[in-house]
């Protein structure tokens, strides 16, 4: 045994890319700026930071791979005693897929839709001569079993579209383990999954790492997730190292202010309001199906939203949350039931609603950049509802736009900018201003913070709460993120397979006794606590044994 069991050592890594911003000359930017790290055999290092922190870029650089026009311009990446950056084409090929493997964020996109899973899982092992086809398949089946995939002997015969997202992510982990690598780069492997699925995949990955002794770089933006699997955590920001320490130290005694912000990101003070007066919007026994089909996507859904309050609708993907928003806005006329606005029936179909009905209900979407016309300036985008609903033009319109920009904490300077020139958080703010411009009584927020980094998302949530207090607007807040719900909701509706399974004021919904599904949902949210994963998994096993 050599003294130094270091597997991967990165020294003073520098990565640059050429960017082509609209209206500016192309120039080089530094994506990773002098980062160094060390990883010992069989250990897990978590890389954490917001988007643009350079974490994925560092992960891929350890395979000497640069996405898009990214260039590695300096430093050393030493794997198993060899500088990867000087390995040459042939050397890189023999290293990728054999010594280092990569597990991507979206397994659904990372598997080739044209080939069966088994062909893809064993490919690298066979190509690199780690095992022959039969031996590799046997190994893959064992790993399928170990990662508790259903029907491990036959799941390899399936095509990627025939298995669920959570299963696919586990198959991807098997694919990585199959060639017995020394290092696996996990790049946000659970981010695209529902919270109840995430916990299983997380546990599977953790077990696999422990049992095979493979080392891992675990990249994520979610500190609570990385705390479950890592021995050490490295916090990155704008391509630079902020802090690097043992997991316990990072989450309990962060030394840097930025780490502290990440740790305490969800703490928003919000006192729950009592429901009062007539509801601004009542959904009564709504049942809806797409295309007049026989499958009801919404089943007998009833909820009330009170003026100036927030109803959070939570559930996993496919639970019917967004369909509820479509039924309320008239995009999907319900089969049965009604939507009442301020005590008055709204026509089910969008085309039959008056312009004032439309004005009263506004929407904000998850993907702010596709919800805006890329060829219109911020001023035009925000000014449009003013013209359309109120006929305000010219100077008065400009003045209102300025006021709205003020409200969303962006200056007048943004009026002449195009969406492409804004950051993700700024784009979402412009969408909020556009919704507010119509002076609505209710804004439907569909996963508005899901695509944003935690700190930026936090800023948006605070802004929404402030605006609610000023404008007395109600929110229907659709999200899969329970932490968000806890910080902003007044009442909560939990949806599961098209039905509301639990509904009431926030304190009531979040106080035991829980129904089974809400319990599962709540217990699946990762907590910033070492050992949470094991506790959650074992209490789940005990429950299912008790049943």
């Amino acid at each position: 045994m050599p003294e130094d069991s270091s597997l991967l050592e990165i020294r003073d890594l520098r990565i640059e890319a050429t960017v082509y911003p609209p209206g500016e000359a192309p120039h080089d930017i530094t994506i990773v700026d002098g980062v160094s790290l060390k990883l010992k055999k069989g250990k897990v290092l978590g890389l954490i930071g917001e988007s643009g922190a350079g974490k994925s870029t560092i992960g891929l650089a350890s395979m000497a791979y640069g996405r898009g026009g990214v260039r590695i311009t300096g430093g050393e990446v030493v794997l198993n005693g060899r500088d990867v950056l000087k390995a040459g084409k042939q050397g890189l090929r023999s290293l990728r897929g054999k010594e280092v493997r990569y597990v991507a964020q979206s397994a659904a996109a990372a598997f080739n839709p044209a080939h069966r899973l088994m062909d893809q899982v064993v490919e690298a092992a066979v190509v690199h001569g780690v095992a022959n086809r039969a031996e590799a398949e046997r190994r893959a089946k064992n790993l399928f079993r170990k990662l508790s995939l259903p029907d491990p002997d036959n799941i390899g015969k399936r095509y990627p579209h025939q298995v669920s997202g959570g299963q696919l992510q586990r198959v991807m982990t098997v694919m990585a383990l199959c060639s017995e690598p020394d290092l696996i780069i996990f790049d946000e492997p659970t981010t695209a999954l529902d919270v109840t699925t995430q916990i299983d995949v997380l546990a599977a990955i953790k077990d696999a790492i422990r049992d095979t002794g493979v080392a891992a770089l675990y990249i994520t933006h979610d500190l609570a997730v990385v705390a479950q699997v890592s021995d050490e955590i490295m916090v990155l920001r704008h391509g630079k190292l902020v802090e690097w320490g043992r997991t316990q130290q990072i989450i309990k005694e962060p030394r840097k202010e930025y780490t502290n912000q990440l740790v305490s990101v969800h703490e928003i003070e919000h006192r729950e309001k009592e429901p009062s007066g007539q509801p601004v919007l009542s959904v009564k026994n709504v049942t809806a199906a797409y295309g007049g089909g026989p499958i009801d996507v919404l089943k007998d859904v009833s909820v009330d939203i009170h003026p100036g309050q927030t109803l959070a609708v939570v559930g996993e993907s496919g639970s019917g949350k967004s369909t509820l928003a479509r039924a309320i806005t008239g995009l999907l006329p319900p089969k049965q039931g009604s939507v009442e606005f301020a005590g008055r029936m709204l026509p089910g179909r969008l085309a039959e609603r008056t312009r004032d009905d439309l004005r009263e209900l506004q929407m904000i979407y998850q993907m702010a950049d596709v919800a805006m016309n890329p060829r219109q300036t911020v001023g035009t985008i925000i000014g449009r509802p003013l013209e359309f609903y109120f006929g305000i033009r010219g100077k008065e319109r400009d003045q209102r736009v300025d006021e709205l920009l003020e409200k969303i904490e962006m200056g007048h300077g943004f009026k002449d900018r195009y969406p492409a020139e804004l950051s993700g958080g700024q784009k979402q703010r412009v969408c909020i201003a556009r919704a507010l411009a119509a002076k609505p009584s209710l804004i439907i927020c569909d996963e508005v913070t899901s695509a944003l980094d935690p700190l930026v998302a936090n800023g948006i949530l605070r802004l929404l709460l402030e605006l609610q207090a000023e404008e007395d607007v109600a929110y229907l807040f659709i999200t899969h993120d329970l932490a968000t719900v806890k910080s902003i909701a007044d009442s909560i509706a939990v949806m599961y397979q098209g039905s509301v399974v639990r509904y009431g004021s926030k304190s009531k919904v979040l106080t035991p006794p829980f129904d089974d599904y809400t319990d599962l949902l709540l217990s699946s949210v990762p907590e910033m606590e070492i050992g949470w994963l094991e506790k959650a998994i074992s209490s789940r096993r005990m429950e299912s044994a008790g049943n």
Binding site: M63, Y65, R67, L92, R93, S94, L95, R96, G97, K98, R101, Y102, A104, S106, A109, A110, F111, N112, P113, A114, H115, Q120, E123, A124, V127, H128, R158, Y159, H161, Q162
Partner: protein
């Protein structure tokens, strides 16, 4: 498999419907064409009586609908009618012409399709480097030159200067297969050059589009060779658009060869059609039009069906 069978049956039914609609269009189109067969047969000096008699004899005075139904009935029983100018059965005349055209088209297709796809793959492998630029340059130059010009260039250099192949591509019944092959070499080469660029560029574009996918990155990070990444992981997902453009070009090889056939004096459908347009021989024009339409529809149908069959989501439903 149920879904695939249903989709394929649907496409076939649509194809037949389309063919029926085209038959109406062709018939209507030839009715509004200026000119008169009787006039062109008898010449400018014919007496009005003679013209009227001939028209009556040829059934040109019947109402259009009944003539259409007669024609359609004949088509359904395999009878394309009789040529007005020669009085011979069109079906018999066309049979040998069509066989010649299909022979030429097949030779051109067998060379050009694999060549175009290979060149496309190579262009992707060395994208934006000199092999890519050279392939693009040469194929674009060949598509930019008019086909008659390419044809004469080939005749001048290959037939006249080098004397490798005959410049006139007249084929006979008695020719052996190899003789035939050598006879059609030049027109086939001309056609290949004409269709190569389109298919090659489309192959390149379709694969490059797929090369952006996350699964191609996965394949690269498995340490596969660049060519294996393209062949095993990108190409299978680009088949549908490639087959589409291949079929469009195969249809062109059957339908669009008029100029090439004329240059090389090749007895194919194109020449036959052009001759009879000049003679105002409406039944022949109609028959040729319908056969061309059937090829277009049939080949595009094949492209559609291949796209359905190569889609794993349709072949293996959840």
């Amino acid at each position: 498999m149920g879904m695939v069978t249903r989709l394929v049956a649907q496409r076939l039914a649509l194809g037949l419907l389309l063919l029926f609609a085209v038959s109406i269009l062709i018939f209507a189109g030839t009715q509004i064409l200026p000119g008169d067969v009787a006039q062109s047969i008898l010449g400018q000096s014919a007496t009005p009586e003679a013209l009227a008699n001939l028209r009556k004899e040829m059934g040109l005075n019947e109402p259009a609908l009944s003539r259409y139904l007669d024609w359609l009935g004949g088509l359904l029983t395999g009878d394309l009618g009789t040529s007005l100018s020669s009085g011979a059965s069109i079906s018999e005349q066309i049979a040998s012409r069509l066989a010649n055209t299909l022979f030429l088209a097949s030779v051109a297709a067998i060379v050009s399709v694999p060549l175009a796809i290979m060149l496309g793959l190579i262009a992707v492998r060395y994208r934006n480097r000199w092999p890519d630029k050279m392939i693009s340059g040469i194929t674009l130059a060949s598509i930019s030159l008019p086909e008659f010009f390419i044809g004469y260039l080939l005749i001048f250099f290959v037939a006249v200067k080098l004397a490798w192949f005959p410049s006139i591509a007249t084929v006979y019944e008695s020719m052996s297969f190899w003789e035939r092959l050598s006879t059609v070499a030049l027109p086939a080469a001309t056609l290949t050059l004409v269709v190569l660029a389109h298919m090659m560029r489309m192959t390149r574009a379709a694969i490059l589009n797929v090369m952006q996918s996350a699964y191609v990155e996965t394949a690269e990070l498995k340490g596969l060779t660049a060519f294996d990444v393209i062949r095993k992981h990108a190409f299978p997902n680009a088949i549908a658009p490639i087959v589409n453009v291949v079929m469009l070009n195969l249809a062109f090889l059957v339908v669009g060869v008029v100029v090439v056939e004329v240059i090389f004096v090749y007895p194919g459908m194109g020449q036959y059609l052009v001759d009879h347009v000049a003679k105002r021989d409406v039944p022949v024009v109609q028959a040729c039009g319908l056969i061309f339409a059937a090829f277009y529809i049939g080949l595009n149908l094949v492209a559609d069906i291949v796209a359905i069959l190569t889609n794993p989501r349709l072949r293996h439903p959840k």
